[in-house]
């Protein structure tokens, strides 16, 4: 166990803030544009189904199914967003604890004491577990919860 590994693991991952302002606004602009395009495509499709239902009655069923599909899509979207937020807050909490433990080690003494302490071994295991978990099971297993 080394203090560098702890420091490396506890460094805040903030890739978005490293980008210049222009690129951040550009990304936001593209996101907004694609959201508008997606809403336009879905809205026009639903409108077309509704118009078609005036000519052919049975298209009302297709309209209803498309509405249900839209709701399912939004639910899946929300599930992804909520899972990401939960995981992010959980990770923030763990990192805060690790940083606090790190500070405590630094206050208490030098590197020699580090090898004797059970709690820090636990922390190191936790870090390794987080690393392997993120590397091995990228999305599906962690978001399924």
């Amino acid at each position: 166990m080394s203090i560098e590994s702890i420091a490396q693991a506890t460094a805040k991952p903030t890739p978005t803030e490293a980008w210049p302002l222009f690129w951040r606004y550009y990304r936001r602009l593209v996101d907004v544009l694609s959201l508008a395009g997606l809403a336009g495509m879905v809205g026009i499709t639903l409108y077309c189904l509704e118009v078609r239902a005036h000519y052919e009655r049975s298209y009302a069923a297709a309209f209803l199914i498309a509405l249900l599909g839209l709701i399912v899509m939004l639910l899946a979207w929300a599930q992804q967003a909520i899972a990401a937020r939960d995981l992010a807050s959980w990770r923030d909490m763990v990192e805060w604890q690790i940083r606090a433990a790190h500070r405590k080690i630094a206050q208490r003494g030098g590197e020699s004491e580090l090898h004797d302490q059970y709690f820090e071994c636990l922390i190191d295991t936790l870090i390794a577990d987080m690393h392997s978990g993120v590397d091995a099971a990228p999305a599906g297993e962690q978001e399924g919860r």
Binding site: A9, P13, P15, V30, D31, S34, L35, G37, L38, M41, V42, I44, T45, Y47, C48, L49, V51, R52, Y55, E56, S58, Y59, A61, A62, I65, A66, G69, L70, V72, M73, A76, W77, Q79, Q80, A81, A83, A84, L87, A88, R91, M130, H131, V134, P138, A139, G140, Q142, E143, G144
Partner: protein, 100 residues
């Protein structure tokens, strides 16, 4: 640990469903566009499929989209790509006259 798992690639059911439905919307949009392009009256000789034909073909064709896109995150940007791919598949099927 540099990225959130929601930004990383990987399949999940939520992603599968979201991209599949988005692709279905793109597919159906291509089939139904004559209705709004010729508003208020649709083109007289335009033939529209039965509603279950429309939904079924959209669902089947969108499975091809999902094969490629189900590992993308669910964001507006990625869903746009799925919808566009559904639209493109429908256009290709129409070119080859396979759309019934």
């Amino acid at each position: 640990m540099t990225k959130l798992p929601s930004d990383q690639l990987g399949e999940s059911w939520a992603r599968f469903l979201a991209h599949w439905i988005a692709s279905c919307f793109g597919f159906m949009l291509n089939r139904l566009l004559p209705l709004v392009l010729e508003w208020p009256a649709p083109v007289a000789h335009a033939i529209f499929p039965r509603w279950w034909m429309l939904l079924g073909s959209a669902g089947l064709a969108s499975l091809l989209t999902v094969v490629f896109n189900a590992n993308l995150p669910v964001t507006a940007r990625e869903l746009m790509k799925s919808a566009a791919m559904g639209f493109a598949i429908c256009a290709i099927l129409q070119i080859f006259g396979l759309n019934g």
